[in-house]
C-alpha cells in the first residue's frame, strides 16, 4: 500500500532536485563561462528497483547534465580575459590534486605571478603552471603568451577523453568523469579581450519551472487523495 507514497515521493523529490538546478542556472545567469545544468530525472524502474521498500532521501534522483550550447561573446578588452573558439575545448584549472574544466577564461595573476582563474585555481598551461612577469601581456590565438616581444608562457586547451562525460561542478567549473586530454596544437584558437557569456536561457528555466511545478502539484494531489482514501478505509475498519 505504501507504493503510491513511494512513487509520488520519488517524483516530488526529483522535482526538488530539478528546481535546484534551475535555481543554480538563474543565480549564475550573469557569470561568464557558466554552462547551464539540466537535471534529467532518472527512470523510475531504476530507482524503484534499487531501493526496495523505501528510499534514502539524500540519494541523487536526477542526472545533472551540462548544456554545451555556446554563450554570446562579451567584449571586455582585458588582456587576460580569454575565450575559446571551438565549442568542444575547455580551459583546465587545478589545485594540485584535482582538475576541473571551464569555459570561463577570466584569468588574473595571483601574489606569486601565477595565472589563476575562478577561486584562485591555477590555470594548466602547456608546461604546468603559467608564471608571468607582468599583467601587461598579449595572448596569441595559439595560446602563446608574449611580454614585450618575448614568449613567456603558453596555454593549453583540453577536450574530453573518448567516452568521458561532462558533469556540473561548482560555479563555472565542470567535471570530466572519464578523463580529459590535451587538445592538438592545430585546433587551439583563443581570443583575448573577449569572454563567453553564461548560456543560461531564462525562457528554458521558466518553462522548466512551470512544468515541474504542475507535476509537483499533480503528485501532491495524488498523495492527498491517497491519504484521504486511507483515512476512510481505516475509519471503516474502526466501524466494524
Amino acid at each position: 500500500m505504501s507504493d503510491i507514497f513511494q512513487i509520488a515521493g520519488l517524483g516530488m523529490l526529483q522535482g526538488n532536485q530539478q528546481l535546484e538546478a534551475i535555481s543554480l542556472n538563474a543565480a549564475q545567469a550573469s557569470q561568464p563561462g557558466y554552462r547551464r545544468q539540466v537535471a534529467v530525472p532518472l527512470s523510475f524502474d531504476k530507482l524503484l528497483g534499487a531501493v526496495p521498500g523505501g528510499h534514502d532521501a539524500a540519494s541523487t534522483l536526477v542526472e545533472r547534465l551540462v548544456d554545451t550550447k555556446r554563450g554570446a561573446a562579451l567584449n571586455t578588452g582585458r588582456p587576460l580575459d580569454l575565450s575559446i573558439e571551438a565549442n568542444d575545448l575547455y580551459f583546465a584549472l587545478t589545485d594540485g590534486v584535482d582538475t576541473w574544466l571551464t569555459r570561463s577564461g577570466s584569468f588574473r595573476l595571483d601574489a606569486n605571478g601565477v595565472l589563476v582563474g575562478q577561486g584562485g585555481l591555477r590555470v594548466v598551461g602547456a608546461q604546468g603552471d603559467v608564471r608571468l612577469p607582468s599583467h601587461d601581456v598579449r595572448v596569441q590565438a595559439d595560446g602563446r603568451i608574449e611580454h614585450q616581444g618575448t614568449v613567456v608562457g603558453a596555454l593549453q586547451l583540453f577536450r574530453l577523453a573518448p567516452g568521458a562525460t561532462l558533469r556540473a561542478g561548482s560555479g563555472a567549473l565542470l567535471v570530466a568523469t572519464g578523463g580529459l586530454q590535451p587538445a592538438e596544437p592545430n585546433v587551439m584558437r583563443l581570443q583575448a579581450g573577449v569572454l563567453e557569456a553564461s548560456n543560461t536561457d531564462p525562457t528554458k528555466e521558466m518553462l522548466g519551472a512551470v512544468k515541474l511545478s504542475r507535476r509537483f502539484e499533480g503528485l501532491s494531489q495524488l498523495v492527498q487523495s491517497y491519504d484521504a482514501a486511507l483515512a476512510r478505509t481505516i475509519q471503516k475498519l474502526g466501524d466494524l
Binding site: M12, A27, R78, D98, S134, A168, Q224
Partner: protein, 255 residues
Amino acid sequence: MLNAFYISSVGLQAQKEQLDTVASNMANLNTAAYKRQSLDFSAVLDRAVPTSADTLPSSMAEARSSRLQRLDFTQGQVHATGRPLDVAISGPGFVSVELGEGLTGYSRLGSLKLNDDGELVLAGGQRLKADVRVPSDATSLGIAADGSVSALLAGDRTPTVLGRIEVAVFTNPEALDYRGEGVYVMREGALDPALVRPGEEGAGQLTAGSLEASNVRMVDEMVALVLMQRVYELNSRVVQVADELMGMSNNLRRN
C-alpha cells in the same frame, strides 16, 4: 527544496552587488583617472552553500577572501587641459602618495596642487612621495614626460630641475584595492612594486597639461543595468516557484 531558496538568494544578492558596481561606475563617468570596477560573479557565488561536496575544490581559501570587485586598469583617454599641474600617466604604473600612519597609496594622478610647503599634492590633499619642493617665488612650473619637475627660480634665466616623480609598476595591479579619492592601496601579501623612471621598463610617461579620462563605458554600464534587472527578476521568480512548491508540500496533510 530549501537549497533552491538559498541558491536563489545568493543569485539575488549577486545582482544587488552588480547594481552597486554599476552605480559606482556611472557616478564616476567623468572623474579624472577613475578605473571602472566590475563584479567578480564567481567570487560572489562561491560564498553560496555548495550543492555537492564532492565537486567543490578543496582549496577555496582565496575565493573566500577575494574581493568582489575587480578593477579594470585599461588606460583612459588623455585629454589636454592646458593647466600645467594637471598630470596624466600615459601607460601602466602609479605614483606613490603619503597616506599618513606610514601607509602608502598609489594614484593615477589628475589635478595636482602645491601645498603650503611647496610640495606636490593630489586634489584630495595626499602628498606625493617625490623629493620635490617648489619655492613659493618660483614660476613656470613644469613636469616633463620622464617625471622631472622643473621651475624657474627667482633671479634665474633657465629652469632648474627640482626633483623627479617616479612611477610604481606592479606585476599584478589587480592586487590593489580602491580606497577612494583616486587612491589605491596594496592588499596584504601583494608584491611591492618596482619604482622606475617614467617611460622606462614598461612604465608609463607623465603627460602634464592633460588629464586621463575615466575608463567607464557608458553603453556597457547601461546594458549591465538592464540585464541586472531582468536576471534579478528571474531569480525572484525561482524563489516564488520554490515557495509554491514548499507550500504544496507543507499542505500534504491539511488537518
